[in-house]
């Protein structure tokens, strides 16, 4: 099986390639990137006038299966990923049961192999049941295909437990991903603590609740030598501390979500749960610091934290609604708008933030190498148009859920086609 992607502007940040070329994928892997390739019998995808990039990777999604399939399934989440230009996603373990054992990891891997149109890489839990007490079966989960560990949504409050997890993860050469939130400081909060929360009479989640845990974990990352990754960074001081840790040579990385850079508290429609997530939308100075961090390189990659919730769960009093919004289909449009069209970073850098950089955070190697368009790498490609206008209509979403603040928003540029292992799994309507 061969696919030849012709005449696109091939941008591969990992190899510093930015020129018109063809990409040949054979048996699921890239075999050649060069001008005027010919491949008799190959399916041809004409990418003239389009950007051809390595397949986009989202290292932070919730697919809700097993356990919450009324909100999303591996199949529907994967289709939403493809429709957003993503070829690989890493799914968080807060399913039911929690992915804290090789059994659940294997279930997800097998289910994804049968039903998902994109690559699905499970992230295992740090602790049993993500309860924060006993370490999960980390080695067995990694053997079954887990690529990282995290208790996302349920931060590990016990410093001794996260220390032991870091030691285990270091030996297995996987990153520890932390949702940084000191639960005593954020206790019961529903939105960012600021004038708006006080005005609306909602309990606040201070930026300090994130900063305190980032600080603690960086110290423990130094103690253990682990690869440590801050999920969905949102606070000014946290960005500064990650930058400082890296200056000191620690293996500390972080991701930012499109919504945390596109929206701040003043954009919130009061008591609308489509603006309720954790970390919460922060105020302008935090948002600016995250964007500055992306521009300076302090922030390593972008990730969506795609968090589907069924309509009924989001149609409640604000304080009763669960946290999180979907994000796979709007990520590229939002980040083009906030980062590239605004002139903060180049298109090439944005592509790196979705390809080579998340691949570096996870550390895929050998047969799993991805995030670049070079011979031997996975045959995953995202074809983009950085300018065409389109409007997001969540009614047409591939996701089972529709909790998004971006419904009806018009974007400039987005994905055109998604290729996974040499197969075209999604094309934008009209192309």
């Amino acid at each position: 099986m061969k696919l030849l992607i012709k005449n696109g502007r091939v941008i591969c940040p990992a190899s510093n390639h930015d020129a018109v070329a063809d990409v040949l994928i054979e048996d699921g892997r890239v075999t050649a990137v060069a001008p005027d390739l010919s491949a008799p019998g190959a399916e041809v995808l004409d990418a003239a006038g389009l950007v051809v990039a390595p397949g986009f990777i989202d290292i932070h999604v919730h697919l809700r299966e097993p356990g919450f399939t009324h909100a999303e399934t591996i199949a529907t989440g994967a289709r939403a990923a493809a429709a957003g230009g993503f070829t690989s996603v890493c799914c968080m373990p807060n399913t039911n049961p929690v992915n804290d054992s090789a059994t659940v990891t294997t279930y997800i891997v097998e289910k994804a192999r049968r039903e998902a149109v994109v690559n699905v890489f499970p992230i295992g839990a740090i602790t049993k049941g993500s309860a924060g007490e006993e370490l999960a079966s980390i080695g067995s989960m990694v053997a079954a295909g887990a690529v990282a560990i995290s208790d996302d949504g349920r931060p590990v409050m016990n410093a001794r437990v996260i220390r032991r997890a870091m030691e285990s993860a270091r030996a297995l050469d996987i990153p520890v991903i932390q949702h940084c939130e000191d639960l005593n400081l954020s206790a019961g909060g529903d939105m960012h603590e600021c004038v708006e929360s006080v005005r609306l009479g909602l309990r606040g989640i201070p930026s300090a609740s994130e900063d305190v845990m980032v600080a603690r974990d960086i110290i423990l990352a130094e103690l253990t030598g682990a690869r440590y990754h801050v999920a969905h960074i949102s606070a000014r001081n946290s960005v500064a501390m990650v930058a400082y840790a890296r200056q000191r040579g620690l293996s500390v990385t972080c991701e930012a979500t499109p919504h945390h850079i596109a929206l701040h508290t003043e954009h919130m429609r009061p008591y609308d749960s489509n603006y309720k997530m954790k970390p919460p939308l922060r105020c302008r100075h935090d948002v600016d610091a995250v964007i500055d961090g992306i521009a300076s390189g302090a922030v390593d990659c972008l990730a969506t934290d795609h968090a589907p919730h069924a309509g009924d769960d989001k149609m409640q009093e604000f304080e009763k609604c669960p946290f999180g919004i979907i994000g796979l289909e709007t990520a590229v449009g939002v980040s083009l708008e906030v980062l590239v069209h605004s002139g903060r970073i180049s298109l090439n850098r944005l592509i790196a933030l979705y390809t080579s950089e998340p691949a570096r955070v996870i550390g895929w190697k050998g047969q799993q190498a991805r995030g670049a368009l070079q011979p031997g790498y996975a045959g995953d490609v995202t074809v983009l148009h950085p300018e065409y206008p389109w409007t997001y209509d969540v009614k047409n979403s591939a996701s089972k859920s529709s909790n998004t603040p971006f419904n009806g928003r018009t974007f400039r540029g987005g994905p055109i086609a998604t290729v996974v292992g040499g197969s075209v799994v999604w094309k934008a309507p009209g192309f």
Partner: protein, 303 residues
Amino acid sequence: MSRGLLGIEETDRSVIEQILERAVAFQPHGGQTFAKVNTCTGMMVVNAFFENSTRTRSSFEIAAHRLGADTLAITASGSSVSKGESLVDTLNTLVAMRPSAIVMRHQASGAPHFLARHLTTPIINAGDGTHEHPTQALLDARTILDRCGRLEGLRVAIIGDIQHSRVARSNVHLLSKFGAEIVLCGPPTLLPREMASIATGVTLEYDMRRAVAGANVIMMLRVQLERLHEPSMQPGEYFRFYGLRQEHIALAHPDVIVMHPGPMNRGREISSEVADSQRSMILNQVENGVSVRMAVLERVLLQ
């Protein structure tokens, strides 16, 4: 006020003035009760109280009856909410019974605002969580006007658990719209610094003697024991530093009036001596509650 009355913050000063003016017409004279005016005969008001309330609910009920409207009371313990029904479904069921307006109290901030986006029936907010209690601010304003004749330029000290007080927020917005000088005072753990920025003319004070100095109006807030789950302050220490006593009255304006939204805890936030003094407007507030709510209901029902 477009359809109902959700909060003071989004209500124009001119609308507030009209309500306060109309309320005067409903105030009883001498020893009489409230006159039955019957301007809203044939209307139906649902009082949906998802959080316990005695005075506000009775006040709205009397107001509706004096206007000639029928009322139906729904309380949390007797409603389908206690059987697991969602708030939206409960309200949709009530709406299907075709009320003219829904008066609603709910423990979640923003619950009426959220519902107002999904329902066409006008909603009057009778208190939402720690957000707003608009009719309380209106009746407080009516009470101040009755005694002081103006709001502009008055120094009003609001004292107590500001953080969790919907009464404080609504009063801040109302007094600010009318150019009063507002001093918020309470223990630092219950007085977020951000309160100074939610409206103009607001200052914060942690020392009660400074807060009441020269005040024309002192509004005391109830210490909400159920809100004291956070480490804040021992009750004994609270009265020592934030309880209103005669010595504070001596620091205030000679004609100072003392208000309290009730229910009050004697000996916790206010001494009996002050609560029972001639300066205390507490019962005037209750009485104005009915007249002001008649004005609000009439406005909403007849629009």
